[in-house]
Amino acid sequence: MWDYSEKVKDHFFHPRNVGDIENPDAVGEVGSLACGDALKLMLKLDKSERIVDVKFKTFGCGSAIASASALTEMVKGKTLAEAAKITDNDIAEYLNGLPEQKMHCSVMGREALEAAIANYRGLKIEKPVDEGIIVCKCFGVTDNKIAHEIREHKLTTIEQVTNYCKAGGGCRSCHPQIQAIIDEIWQKEKEKVMIEKARKPAKKLTNIQKMKLIQETIERDIRPALQSDGGDIELFDVDGDRVMVSFRGSCVECPSSKVTLKSTVEAKLREFVTDTLIVEEVAS
């Protein structure tokens, strides 16, 4: 049973603005039958580009219908310029939250709106996210779209990427490619951090700063790599320069985890925290 908010349920059981508009000024269509959800958004505008009427039709689950209904209520009375500022998070917030696995429903709402605005402006649907190379063949998701969601929502795992844009939710054969996109994006971020770090004069860290930095480094640079191999790592304790960690998942039985400990975990922590750290494994 999904844990839907009262507002999601209300918009699902009593969807607002269902139907068609005759001669709409703008139409946005996203999704498909094969994907399992689709949304058609129709807008009627006045001379000042204010949305005077809006209707939708949705094929999809409870939260897809609720997200579409919420979107129509949100854009009504707004100008196109104002409506264009609505994000998927705004839709989810309007509904008092969506389950994590259902975030792609609000993404679909935002995309339909973008498509409708582009349609009105007479632009060829200006969605760089639709161009690029198809990574997830099951749901037809491109690398650009995946990268967009990763940056927009600071996603670090394949599972999160699936929640936001469905990529990787089918046969899973694209998981290595998704992981590569995640790695590439955060590698660039990391380089930025390194440049920043190089600019800063090295200062002695307080214990709290050190622990925080260790934790951040594990989250950003170590955990995603281990998780992609089915493993995980927990920070157990920090005592002076001794960092105690324990491995989880497939790392526990992995014969090369000792090597990983020194070559990855310790190396990364020395790189980003201080170069005197010694990493030790404690039994989990």
């Binding site: 699902f12 039958l33 094969a34 399992g36 949705t58 409870g62 219908i65 699936t162």
Partner: protein, 399 residues
């Protein structure tokens, strides 16, 4: 609120007689069946009775029954038990439509260095037996094929499968969780070597199952511990639940003919009326080689989770093979293996009855489900036009 429970392939109501039979083993007879004193020892005798009751339902010898904690444990115990007893054999044959207890275990074994052959099914959900015969090799340790499918109710010709497996000198395990109690089984005249059954699918409580291990089959225990279950499953017996499972099996035997007459008639009426009244329906799975209680229906252009939520509002409990209800984005692996079109997989609903369902229940669903489907069709941007359009596009693309 009125509750119409038609999700019996997920779990069943514990029969009142079963609850009554169990209660003394919480309150009075709490002894350990392994104890030397009479207080505990008398409980061991009652476990023997339960073992007898389970054996009678499936035509087995009582000593061939091992009590476990659930169907998943029985499946794991069967497959691991045979693999460990035959370490030189590294090949497993299974099907693409197994329950996750077998399906995911075989996936895990494939990653751990075993060779796994997964047999596909046709659009009716049936296996190709020639393919099976080709798949079984000299180093095949075990063939694990379900008796009846949990999603569609399709029954596999398990005895034909068994004789092929025997000819090839391998061992047959069958997950019969959905079959036991619904259709008659007689293991005294069977080619099955190991069989899984689960309590909560036949009106016993959750947390108890059994594994039939044919006499003469070399089998290593999955849970290693004490001498319980003749060294085939360690751990102090879950006494009340085992007593409950025994009682439930006795009742299942008694109600077997009702299951295949009255319950089947209810299912058939429900299915036929839905085919008549619902927009764009189809039945998934073989219409006759099927459990008497299950119907898996697809309604095109609507999505399963939305149907379930609206049914839930009317107090009707059902399941769906739609992606949104699976906890992942992947729709039912069973329906996809059958080649059911995506449009129909997303809008699939499983209704599974039991002897506790009535004609009123069926009439209630027949009254409420079609309006729900029509309501979702009104919201849906797709309809028959889409289908025609898609087909034309496909044809023109081909030309």
């Amino acid at each position: 609120m009125k509750v119409v429970y038609t999700d019996n392939n997920a779990t069943t109501m514990v029969a009142p007689e079963v609850v009554e039979a169990m209660l003394p083993y919480f309150r009075e007879y709490y002894g350990n069946p392994s104890s030397m004193h009479t207080f505990g020892g008398q409980v061991a005798k009652k476990i023997d009775t339960a073992r007898q009751q389970v054996a009678e339902l499936i035509g087995a010898n009582p000593e061939e029954i091992v009590f476990t904690s659930c169907g998943t444990e029985s499946d794991n115990a069967a497959i691991w038990g045979i693999l460990r007893a035959n370490p030189h054999k590294r090949h497993i044959v299974t099907s693409r439509v197994e329950h996750p207890a077998v399906y995911n275990l075989c996936k895990y074994l494939a990653q751990s260095g075993y060779h796994v052959t997964e047999l596909g099914v046709d659009s009716n959900g049936m296996l190709n037996l020639n393919e099976l015969a080709d798949a079984v090799r000299e180093d095949t340790a075990i063939v694990s094929i379900m008796y009846a499918n949990n999603e569609t109710g399709v029954i596999f010709p398990i005895e034909e499968i068994g004789s092929i497996v025997k000819q090839k000198g391998s061992i047959l395990h069958t997950d019969a969780v959905q079959a036991v109690g619904k259709i008659p089984l007689d293991l005294s005249k069977s080619t099955i070597d190991l069989l899984t059954l689960s309590g909560h699918k036949l009106h016993a409580p959750k947390g108890v199952g059994a594994l039939f291990v044919r006499k003469g089959i070399t089998f290593s225990p999955f849970i290693i511990g004490g001498h319980q279950e003749k060294n085939r499953r360690g751990g102090t017996e879950n006494v009340p639940s085992i007593i409950g499972l025994g009682k439930a099996c006795e009742l299942a035997k008694k109600f077997m003919s009702e299951e295949n007459t009255r319950v089947k008639q209810l299912r058939d009426k429900l299915e036929n009326e839905m085919l008549k009244r619902a927009p764009d329906p189809r039945v998934n799975g073989h219409r006759t080689q099927r459990l008497p209680n299950t119907t898996n229906l697809s309604f095109e252009f609507v999505e399963g989770e939305a149907i379930l939520l609206l049914l839930n509002e009317k107090g009707i409990c059902a399941s769906s093979g739609s992606a949104c209800t699976s906890g992942s984005l992947e729709p039912s692996h069973v329906l996809r293996a059958m080649g059911v079109p995506f449009t129909a997989v997303h809008g699939s609903i499983r209704l599974s009855l039991s002897r506790y369902n009535t004609m009123d229940d069926v009439d209630y669903i027949i009254e409420h489900l079609p309006p729900i489907l029509r309501r979702l069709r009104e919201i849906s941007p797709y309809g028959r036009e889409t289908k025609v359009k898609e087909q034309t596009e496909r044809i023109s693309a081909r030309a």
